[in-house]
């Protein structure tokens, strides 16, 4: 009981002192998860939109794959990526294993299906009359598509935040392909795992508090966006 209490005291001291090691770990987490999310949006939104707006061949199959991908266990992603990136693997020449780059790829694989699938759903659910309205007002096919996508923006943002939620909290994939190297590939979740293992609870608890805070903020943002999309509060989001 006493060690737990002591751990919390020390943890808060670390946080309040803006401990450099702590900050470095948090900053890398933001870079890795943020980078992965950005990539997931850059590729997932166009794919989701394309499937929603055009009759793609194999659309059903792609949708099934993507929906399956939403539930991929992070450790399996880590394992497969490890095998691909290891020195003797087919992508070994890239020398990415145990780098932040590998961690971004791993988390991208986890976020991509979520962003794609939720963007697709949001765009498919836009009332068909929006498309007609765009057309009768003179939109060309690209403008028409962008208008429908814009109408789905709250759902798309929700999907992106959900993707972020998935990657910030996961440890399985980044610990395998990142290797948890001090000062280089250590992120919040992997550090918690390692330091707990070593019995060094101060840093683990401090990072745990920060991770919980981030999750909380993500959830608050999610709810706020969903509320904005529904309410008739007169808020304008396209000025």
């Amino acid at each position: 009981m006493d060690t737990i209490f002591q751990g919390f005291i020390s943890a808060f001291k670390l946080i309040l002192a803006l401990n450099p090691e702590l900050l470095k770990i948090i900053w890398l987490s933001i870079q890795v998860s943020g980078g992965a999310l950005l990539l997931a949006i850059l590729l997932g939104l166009p794919l989701g939109a394309l499937m929603a707006l055009r009759r793609l061949p194999l659309r059903g199959l792609i949708l099934n794959l993507i929906n399956t991908g939403m539930g991929l266990p992070p450790v399996v992603v880590g394992l497969v990526l490890y095998l691909l990136l290891s020195r003797s693997g087919p992508l070994g020449f890239l020398s990415l294993l145990y780098t932040p780059g590998a961690m971004i790829i791993a988390q991208f694989i986890l976020a991509f299906p979520i962003v794609t699938s939720l963007s697709h759903t949001a765009i498919v659910n836009v009332n068909p009359i929006i498309r007609q309205a765009a057309r009768v007002l003179g939109a060309n096919p690209l403008q028409e598509a962008l208008t429908v996508i814009r109408e789905a923006r709250y759902g798309i943002i929700t999907g992106s935040i959900a993707g972020l939620g998935r990657v910030t909290a996961e440890v399985g994939s980044v610990i395998i392909v990142g290797g948890n190297i001090a000062g280089y590939t250590r992120v919040i979740t992997t550090t918690i795992a390692l330091e707990t293992d070593k019995g060094n609870f101060d840093l683990a608890i401090a990072l745990g508090i920060i991770l919980l805070t981030i999750s909380l903020l993500i959830n608050v943002a999610l709810r706020a966006i969903q509320r904005l999309g529904r309410t008739s509060s007169g808020v304008i989001l396209w000025d």
Binding site: A133, L137, G138, T147, S232, D239
Partner: protein, 217 residues
């Protein structure tokens, strides 16, 4: 003087139901044509075909300028518009809904500002320009739809029940606006309504749609 519109033997079938059955008609340039007729006879379908947002299964929809047929390309589509029965309000502000048609035509923001401002005055929505358009009442939404259509100064304006299911006051405002468009004598108007008195007041040509065909009333 506006465009004339010629329908040649157009047919349209949905799920095995032949809604339009070889319908032919000529809507003369610059006149107001009012179509009445029972529900489900294909009036809305006809207007969507006229707006070139759907194509007939058979037959042709031909726009004519001084008797010369025009190619059904984007340039022609941008000379027409249709006020949909459900309007299709975008989830943006009132201002941006009306500005839409001008922006996608590449108009500069200063001119957009002026034109939209003027139209919003005309339809009585100037005070609501910054409001979320989805918050408007049904009647206001119809006025918004009309503003969105008018701002692009169409040569053909297709109106699908512009005063259906709204209150008397909004209905009168909208009818007043249509009269104004009519008085300018620049646009060809094709309008569907269920209100015989209104049809009488607005029409140069009164038409009846029945069994997938148009006939004079």
């Amino acid at each position: 003087m506006g465009l004339a519109l010629e329908l040649v033997e157009i047919s349209k079938t949905y799920n095995g139901l032949e809604v339009l059955q070889g319908c032919s008609w000529t809507f003369e340039a610059g006149l107001t044509h009012v179509i009445m007729g029972p529900n489900g006879t294909g009036k809305s379908t006809l207007l969507r075909l006229c707006a070139l947002i759907e194509v007939p299964d058979r037959g042709r929809v031909i726009y004519l300028a001084d008797g010369q047929p025009l190619a059904p390309d984007l340039a022609l589509k941008r000379r027409l518009t249709l006020l949909l029965p459900g309007v299709g309000v975008f989830n943006t502000s009132v201002f941006h809904n009306v500005a839409y048609g001008l922006k996608i035509r590449g108009m500069g923001s200063k001119e957009v500002e002026e034109r939209v401002g003027a139209i919003l005055e005309t339809v009585g929505l100037a005070a609501k320009r910054r409001q979320r358009a989805l918050d408007l009442s049904t009647g206001q939404s119809k006025r918004l739809g009309l503003a969105r259509a008018m701002v692009i100064e169409p040569e053909v304006i297709l109106l699908d029940e512009p005063t259906a299911s709204i209150d008397q006051e909004n209905s009168e405002i909208i009818e007043g606006i249509i009269k104004k468009i009519k008085a300018e004598r620049k646009a060809t108007i094709v309008m569907v309504t269920h209100d015989p008195a209104q049809a009488e007041r607005l029409a140069d040509r009164l038409l009846l749609m029945r069994d997938g065909k148009i006939a004079p009333l």
